[in-house]
């Protein structure tokens, strides 16, 4: 198994002719390094556990620093052929603590070591996503695309982990990395497409655990012994905590990915993601919030933590929805990408676009239960729908007013019976 990875080009001064020096990558060139797996810092300050964490982390930090100091060709040989390295990186992405996880009270040396690792892991992925390291050291883009895909150097779960771990502080660099990965290897769009049903299944599973049924979910036969009357209100506290933690992680991860890589929105929308997300929100959030509020807690900090997580998840879902609407519908118009097509074509496009927004909301209009329009109201509170419609109207005078009126009417209905000024007072006490 031998791969030609590097084409070093240089100019022969006498002949003034561009020459190509092809470098080949072979498993035998790989160093026998034995990377160890990452384990997260211990939850308790047990000296033995702390020591083991530090030992592991030091091994990984030293090995990654060694890897980052390797010349271009040797780095790629190691990355491609060293399975222990690939497992080490994957274990970091899986188990590295997110800041929104439960707070850890770590010793300063544990924090310092974790920071050191965090940087080295990011730089390793940065190098792995860079096909042109310098003018003399680069990999042909098509070969690069094959290497990272065929060897699973990146996959969709890893990319999502990268976004949630590094997206806040290193967003611009991460955006370039992920754009380059998807550009050089479009098969990742296919993988994302394949992954989305599983993401939607996660929402369904949460609903199922809450004793709720999602629209469009497959009606699987229920086991006879399965408890069907479990709700968030009567389930054990630990189970409720797990659901809220899972929801919080899911929403934050999806939002972090869309925030870094909005080009993924089209693939999400192929699965009617906006509608499915809004439906989930409408069903799950009131049920979970009600359960969290009604439950009796021995430790009030548990209640505060659950409430904070559910509120955070709400906001992230609405923000993810906004990124999707913005990317799929609004941005193309604002960038005038279709203006050159002429007014007739533009009008048809706008109708299709508005249809997208309406279809995202319209499913909700049909639900007239006590929580109806919750999502639409919350969305409108953070991102006023009127502003988006106004932008569309400014973009084209040929926009079908009946459709825009329908949207605005839907928003108005959502606020019916709710004191909007009260909500605004809560928002801004000044």
């Amino acid at each position: 198994y031998c791969i030609q990875i590097v084409e070093t080009s240089f100019t022969h001064h006498k002949k003034k002719k561009q020459l190509q020096n092809k470098t080949y990558c072979h498993p035998e060139i790989k160093a026998d390094r034995s990377f160890v797996l990452y384990r997260p810092p211990p939850v308790v300050r047990d000296p033995a556990l702390v020591e083991e964490f530090l030992e592991r982390a030091k091994f990984i930090a030293d090995d990654l620093n060694w890897l980052l100091a390797l010349p271009h060709d040797k780095f790629w040989c190691q990355v491609i052929f060293d399975e222990t390295l690939q497992k080490c990186l994957d274990s970091y992405l899986r188990y590295a603590p997110r800041k929104f996880d439960a707070l850890l009270d770590c010793l300063p040396e544990v924090n310092d070591m974790q920071k050191c690792l965090h940087r080295s892991v990011f730089l390793t992925f940065l190098r792995m996503s860079t096909h042109k390291e310098s003018k003399d050291h680069f990999i042909t883009p098509s070969v690069f695309g094959e290497i990272i895909y065929n060897n699973f150097l990146f996959d969709i779960p890893k990319i999502l982990d990268l976004c949630v771990l590094f997206g806040k502080g290193n967003g611009l660099l991460l955006q370039k990395m992920i754009e380059n990965i998807f550009t050089q290897q479009p098969s990742y769009f296919g993988d994302l497409d394949e992954t989305l049903p599983t993401v939607l299944q996660v929402f369904n599973n949460i609903l199922h655990k809450c004793g709720l049924q999602c629209e469009g979910a497959s009606a699987e036969p229920q086991k006879l012994e399965e408890k069907v009357n479990v709700t968030p209100g009567n389930m054990p506290l630990q189970e409720l905590k797990d659901i809220v933690l899972y929801l919080c992680d899911t929403c934050t991860t999806l939002w972090a990915f869309l925030d870094v890589f909005p080009l993924a929105c089209q693939t999400f929308q192929k699965h009617e993601f906006c509608y499915r997300l809004a439906s989930f929100y409408e069903l799950a959030i009131p049920e979970l919030e009600s359960a969290i509020k009604k439950r009796h807690y021995e430790d009030n900090s548990v209640f505060a933590d659950l409430w904070r997580r559910i509120s955070h998840s709400r906001k992230r879902m609405i923000e993810a929805f906004h990124i999707l609407i913005n990317q799929v519908c609004l941005q193309p118009i604002l960038e005038s990408r279709y203006w050159h097509l002429g007014s007739v074509v533009l009008a048809s496009y706008l109708i299709a676009v508005v249809g997208e927004i309406v279809s995202s909301f319209s499913g909700l209009l049909e639900k007239m239960n006590r929580y109806s329009y919750l999502f639409l109201r919350d969305y409108d509170e953070l991102f006023p729908v009127e502003d988006d419609v106004s932008l569309l109207q400014q973009a084209s005078s040929t926009l079908d007013e009946t459709r825009t009126a329908y949207i605005l009417q839907a928003v108005e209905s959502a606020w019916e019976g709710v004191d909007r000024t009260k909500a605004q007072v809560v928002k801004d006490p000044t």
């Binding site: 390094r33 160890v36 797996l37 083991e52 530090l54 030992e55 592991r56 030091k58 091994f59 620093n65 060694w66 980052l68 100091a69 390797l70 010349p71 780095f75 222990t84 497992k87 994957d90 899986r94 800041k99 929104f100 920071k115 940087r119 190098r127 996959d155 969709i156 806040k168 502080g169 290193n170 660099l173 394949e194 992954t195 599983t198 993401v199 933690l245 899972y246 992680d249 009131p286 919030e289 009600s290 509020k293 009604k294 009796h296 009030n300 505060a304 409430w307 997580r309 509120s311 955070h312 906001k315 609405i318 006590r370 929580y371 109201r377 509170e381 709710v418 009260k422 809560v426 928002k427």
Partner: protein, 199 residues
């Protein structure tokens, strides 16, 4: 226990990842330590070179004292590495101890960690004896002489290479929970209450 994660589910239930089996990796720390031992044996700096360095750079009258200290280091290495591992492993251990202590007056936290990482649990008295002996030997030489000796090992390890990304400004900032100012009163049953999303 691992926290429930979206990406954990995707790894388990989607077909877009390489399904890794981590069960065989339980002994990875032991494997890593033995790899480090192998690397140590391949080091360019050998015990014989240290002895030759001492012979070449010291007067004969100082040899007796220094030879005693060299023997102390070798004896300490025997205690730390284990006599059953053979002379070659003991000498490599002695080189490691010399490298670790050549600029140290006492056994500090970092040195203890380094020795433990390489050899596992060890008698602290042996480390102290090796440290004191190395310190006495080192006091006979200049800083330049010692640096030249130690670099024999470091050059092979590539410590002088350019580190990818050394100039990249890295931020440790991570996504956190939003600050929620509003907490409902516990037990409140008003499902229609508007909860602010402006945190």
């Amino acid at each position: 226990m691992a926290l429930p994660r979206l990406t954990g589910t995707l790894r388990s239930f989607s077909n877009v990842t390489k399904h890794e089996d981590y069960s065989e990796e339980l002994a990875d720390l032991r494997t890593k330590r033995s790899k480090l031992h192998e690397q140590l044996l391949k080091s360019d700096l050998t015990w014989k070179k240290i002895i030759k360095f001492v012979d070449d750079n010291l007067d004969k009258k100082e040899h007796q004292t220094v030879n005693g200290d060299l023997k102390t280091i070798l004896q300490a290495a025997k205690q730390i590495v284990g006599a059953e591992n053979g002379q070659e492993a003991i000498e490599s251990g002695a080189v490691f101890l010399f490298k670790t202590f050549h600029r140290k007056e006492c056994v500090g936290h970092d040195e203890t960690k380094a020795i433990k990482q390489m050899f596992g649990p060890f008698p602290s008295s042996s480390a102290t004896a090796a440290c004191n002996a190395t310190y006495r030997i080192a006091s006979h030489f200049t800083e330049e002489q010692l640096t030249a000796l130690i670099q024999m090992a470091e050059e092979q390890n590539g410590d002088n290479r350019v580190f990818f990304g050394k100039n990249i400004v890295f931020s440790f900032d991570m996504h956190d929970l939003d600050h929620s100012e509003e907490l409902p009163v516990n037990g409140e049953a008003d499902a229609q209450k508007i909860i602010s999303l402006d945190y």
